[in-house]
Amino acid sequence: MIPVLARLRDTAPKTVLLTAAALFSVFPLLSMFSAALQPQGSAPAGISFPTNPQWHNFVDAWNVANITTLVQSSAVLVVGVVPIAMLISAMAAYAIAQLRIPFGNVFFLLLLLGLTLPYEIVVVPLYYQMQQLGLLNTQLGLILPLIGLNMPFAVFWMRTHFQSVPAEISESSSIDGAGPWKAFRHIQLPLAVPALASLGVLMFLSTWNQFLLAIVLIDDPNKRTMAGALQGFVGAHSTDVVLLNAGALLIMAPTILVFLLFQKYFIRAMLAGAVKG
């Protein structure tokens, strides 16, 4: 057989299969996109190539859905949760894996319990807890629980890293007379940057997309995460298919954009995160 043909016979099924899998993944998004470009007030039918695409729909949806405010409030939540969760989980993992604190393993087992339990069990008690603390409907009232709920995975992730750091590094720093804090800040933390970066990416995503806690703990859609705000937006515009799809696409856009920019880190972090989690 001609080599080119043989190669084609080998690669064609693979290409078809891969294309099909990729198409299946974007098809619903394309269907949204096609609806979002139809004239407002019309009833779009399935996927159709818009002959006269109404790009202005996105501007309208931006204003109606308050996207500017939503991006800001989601950013506040991410900035409130991710850096602190990264720092305190790294510290705890360092204490467990390197300083070998007494009962560190008990603490770690306790954290593992939280790794598999669904958020459904904490959401109702958290509501009343926040009510008592006067933090219901405030962003702080969502930031604090999210930090706490991120601890199982974050400590688990960072512990794996600190276990891989050779003991000589921490021993040599303690011989040099550096206290554990100094050693942590100047030697351990810089070494942990790759692990921390992946953790940061995963926690950014889970915070930004957090839905259940956002709709329970914050009443005002404008103070929620982008995902949580969707609920209010759908409630208000469920009959306007065009505007609903345009708005929903805008609400997804930031994560997609960040994903496309930092793809490499995302994919590495998510595949590794899945295996370790």
């Binding site: 510290m91 705890a92 109702v124 997309n209 839905f211 609920q231 997804m252």
Partner: protein, 301 residues
């Protein structure tokens, strides 16, 4: 001899004090975890033994809330549905992922491979609530699913999928299939990449066909990756909330009701805090009871 002993004991004292001091590092994480996860879990268990509407004085009712989880049709149905969803959230994605991954095995073309990877990852990146909106539109009477059926001449099958008592649950399940398939495929492809390629060469020299190679090499080699996919997606199926809440709210009737949405509605629309907590506790126990054996199954060699 004694000198050494004294020295090491003193040394030990210093070291153990230093080890206790290390708790200062672990304390912030412990406090946050205890206050915002452990304490709420304990509170939920406590609530579950009471009848409480969230405002008035609560009344202890023993195990009544738990009995009702298994006798009230709507609550029991939600648990049954969450197990049915495993077919769609777990079984189908792993199966599809295995088929695609074992045929494609590795992507030679860098460009096409990168593009496919990016597209397959998208469902993981966007919020589940947003995927629910995309699929609600796909399933609507004028949406793409019915359009496709009409194009195939299957007009008789068209319907409002999410409003249909029989079809709403499988329709919601397919959303879960869509969410998980990309991640599972990529995980399994990464796993196959780690399998020694010479094993396949040797097998095909021995005359093993594709199916035999799959049974003898691919499947055992992917044990860990399959375990990961199964674990993640089963938790997603049993504890699903975002997708169901945004697409059907558990309806029509309670044909797509799942424990997650039921916990929310019992607590915040029906003001049955105790009942809601009992269901949440049962859900958590189910998740643990299903996940722990699976972890063991896929870990052991």
């Amino acid at each position: 001899m004694t000198g050494v002993g004294v020295l090491s004991r003193a040394d030990l004292g210093v070291r153990s004090r230093a080890r206790w001091a290390g708790w200062l590092f672990a304390l912030p994480a412990l406090v946050m975890y205890a206050v915002f996860e452990l304490y709420p879990i304990i509170t939920a268990v406590q609530y579950s033994f009471f009848d409480w509407d969230g405002i008035n004085v609560s009344k202890p009712v023993g195990l009544a809330n738990y009995t009702r989880v298994f006798t009230e049709p709507q609550l029991l149905a939600s648990i049954v549905h969450s197990f049915i969803l495993i077919i769609f959230f777990t079984f189908l994605p792993v199966l599809l992922g295995l088929v695609v991954a074992s045929i494609v095995r590795e992507i030679r073309s860098k460009w096409a491979g990168g593009a496919a990877r990016t597209l397959m990852f998208l469902p993981q990146i966007i919020p589940g609530a947003a995927s629910a909106i995309a699929w609600t539109w796909m399933y609507s009477p004028g949406g793409a699913v019915n359009q496709l059926l009409r194009a195939l001449g299957l007009d008789a099958l068209t319907r409002a999928w999410l409003g249909d008592f029989t079809w709403a649950l499988p329709a919601v399940g397919i959303i879960g299939t869509w969410l998980a398939t990309g991640l599972c495929t990529l995980l399994l492809m990464a796993g196959i990449g780690k399998i020694d390629g010479s094993l396949y060469e040797a097998a095909s020299l021995d005359g093993a066909n594709r199916y035999h190679q799959f049974r003898a090499i691919t499947l055992p080699g992917l044990r860990q990756e399959i375990g990961v996919c199964v674990t993640i997606t089963i938790i997603a199926a049993l504890a699903s909330f975002d997708v169901v809440f945004m697409s059907t709210q558990g309806g029509p009737g309670y044909s797509t009701q799942v424990p997650g949405v039921q916990v929310y509605q019992l607590a915040f629309t029906e003001n049955r805090i105790g009942q809601s907590s009992a269901l949440a506790v049962v859900l958590s126990l189910i998740v643990l009871a299903v996940i722990l054996p699976i972890q063991r199954l896929f870990r052991e060699k």
